[in-house]
């Protein structure tokens, strides 16, 4: 069990409105990712759910119970911090078992549960070490162990992988996703890495300046962004956004086309330009094409396309994949 509902949640720090009017439902067992640019309020929203900050307005419900005024310990959630926040004076065993000790469980039961959690996370041989004697990846696993051992209603992760190197990050990403599915426990995961968001999430919540811009599955956000912000934020490399006369031609204030949805030819109709940079990644080639009246357009083609810097090319957007936006930046959907 672990359905988390936010109703009109607001948070002000002094006069600064950091979170405004957030409504959100996180279904039991779902993996929900908060993404958004730095400073948009992701951590704050997570901390409000955790109970580490008090809301200025609105309500938070967990499994239908209003927990708005309850302290963290009464909410039944556990959290994994970016800094790991392990207790430096306790062994790994003590760290993982601390929550159970606080809950007053008998010693032998704590020992059993700690060992089971450690086994799941390959930490058995480190149980008697202090955090400072562990590598970054091991510390992270201890922090996760501490979160899962209490069998909480939900996990809260605040950029748990951002202190790890790239290779380890991929491994841990997969490990966390697998663990969450195996335990079938609700998880809310904050990141500004959109690869993490796209690969881990059942549902992504895109935040911007304390507001929810859009909520949807990764593919919904990719295929049908509600507005310019989401269109620009989700997807890598970023969607090309074009205004002016070209957009008018499509009956929009702005049109967007993803780099992978542009067809590249040498001749014919389309946006004519010259390749200013070609990046050959092996599997893909990124072309940065200078198009007159439009600017620099990013194109992604598969394999080695045999195109190089200085070549003149014609770009044709795939009409089915073209996104149109009105003057306020909202998506125009064909009725």
């Amino acid at each position: 069990m672990g359905k988390i509902v936010l109703q009109g949640v607001e948070k002000h720090f002094g006069d600064v409105k950091v979170i405004s009017n957030v409504d959100l439902t996180v279904e039991d067992g779902a993996f929900v990712v908060f993404v958004g640019p730095s400073g948009c309020g992701k951590s704050t929203l997570l901390r409000l759910i955790a109970g580490l900050e008090d809301v200025t307005g609105g309500r938070i419900l967990i499994d239908g119970v209003d927990v708005t005024d309850l302290p963290p310990m009464k909410r039944g959630l556990s959290m994994v911090f970016q800094s790991y926040a392990l207790y430096p004076h306790m062994s790994v065993r003590g760290n993982i078992g601390f929550g159970l000790k606080m809950a007053g469980l008998p010693k032998d039961e704590i020992a059993r549960k700690v060992e089971a959690a450690a086994a799941t996370l390959n930490l058995t041989q480190y149980l008697d070490r202090k955090p400072r004697q562990l590598s970054g990846g091991q510390r992270q696993r201890v922090a996760i162990g501490r979160a899962i051992v209490r069998e909480p209603k939900g996990f809260l992760f605040d950029e748990p992988l951002s202190n790890l190197d790239a290779a380890l990050r991929v491994n841990m990403r997969i490990e966390i996703a697998r663990l969450q599915k195996a335990l079938a426990t609700t998880a809310i995961y904050v990141t500004h890495d959109q690869v993490e968001a796209m690969t881990m999430a059942d549902k992504i919540v895109v935040l911007n300046a304390g507001r929810v811009e859009q909520v949807g599955s990764p593919l919904e956000l990719y295929d049908r962004p509600d507005n310019l912000f989401v269109a620009g934020f989700i997807g890598s490399p970023k969607m090309n956004l074009v205004g002016g006369r070209i957009a008018e031609g499509y009956g929009a204030a702005t049109v967007g086309i993803r780099p992978e949805h542009l067809l590249v030819g040498r001749e014919g109709d389309g946006w004519r330009g010259t390749i200013s940079v070609a990046e050959h990644l092996g599997s893909d080639t990124f072309l940065y094409v200078d198009v007159k009246d439009v600017g620099l357009v990013t194109v992604r083609t598969q394999g080695e396309a045999g195109l190089r810097t200085g070549d003149s090319v014609v770009l044709r957007p795939d009409p089915a994949r073209l996104h149109r936006f009105d003057r306020d930046g909202r998506a125009i959907r064909a009725a």
């Binding site: 556990s78 926040a85 207790y87 929550g99």
Partner: protein, 276 residues
């Protein structure tokens, strides 16, 4: 700190440091040496550095005349008592200032410290009257209380600077783990702050041990600690240098020994958490 220092420079600094240390230590050394002199040798002019006739006479006389151990006991009760009670108040206070600050926290800290800038005599009369009316004059409870209060600002400041070095994430993690406030403080904050608490404790015991203004003014026969014991030797009948020195030596000996064994903690303490 791997900075290259030339051997000459190193020697210069070492010698300078020794000179400064000896100058600072000289009065204490002189007191100790005088304690072993006869009253006659103590007032010789020009003074004799080492006692011409070593004697333990002064110590016996001092003990016989004014019972060192009773005063010692009082000093221990007052300094340890006031420090422990002070910690009970200062730890939660420093916790709230370090981890739940408000707009006024900085002002409160400054205000607390500013009470130490006022000369103590300024409040002697009101405090004396309060003590008198509450029947606290010449009582261990009264002295413990007043020393706890006058050292409290320093305790709170020291603990505050130590606590601020502790990442708040770790305390928040304990809250998520279900620790109520006192468990958060006892199981998580205090173990992490042990070095800071130890130096706060030591420094305050020393401050309280040596405190002479309030202990002299608010005690008479019953609760008098070692400071009063020393003072009783600069009496109207005249100064007895050798006995005064013997009394002083006896009074500072315990704290000197404690200080010697806890130098490292003390240095950390007196730099107020600036040095990690």
């Amino acid at each position: 700190m791997a900075r290259a220092i030339s051997p000459q420079k190193k020697w210069t600094f070492t010698i300078l440091a020794w000179i400064v240390a000896l100058i600072l230590f000289f009065p204490i050394l002189w007191t100790i040496l005088t304690a072993f002199k006869t009253e006659g040798d103590a007032i010789l002019f020009p003074p004799a550095f080492l006692p011409p006739h070593w004697t333990l006479e002064n110590f016996f006389e001092v003990q016989a005349r004014s019972d060192y151990f009773r005063h010692f006991f009082n000093s221990v009760v007052i300094s340890v008592g006031s420090t422990l009670i002070g910690l009970l108040v200062a730890v939660p206070a420093a916790w709230s200032m370090a981890f739940a600050p408000t707009k006024r926290t900085k002002d409160i800290l400054m205000w607390m410290l500013s009470t130490k800038m006022m000369p103590a005599v300024g409040v002697l009369v009101p405090i004396y009257l309060i003590f008198k009316n509450l029947g606290l004059l010449d009582s261990l409870a009264g002295l413990t209380g007043i020393l706890m209060l006058i050292n409290l600002p320093i305790m709170v400041w020291m603990l505050y600077t130590y606590f601020r070095e502790i990442p708040v994430d770790i305390l928040e993690a304990s809250r998520m783990d279900g620790a109520v406030l006192w468990k958060e403080i006892v199981y998580v904050l205090l173990p992490m702050a042990i070095p800071g608490i130890a130096s706060t404790l030591l420094l305050n015991i020393i401050l309280a041990w040596n405190e002479a203004f309030w202990t002299l003014n608010l005690s008479a026969a019953n609760a008098a600690p070692l400071t009063a014991f020393i003072a009783s030797y600069s009496s109207p009948e005249g100064l007895f240098w050798a006995k005064l020195s013997a009394a002083s030596t006896l009074a500072i000996a315990p704290i000197l020994v404690i200080g010697w064994f806890s130098q490292k903690q003390l240095v950390r303490g007196m730099t107020f958490g600036a040095v990690k």
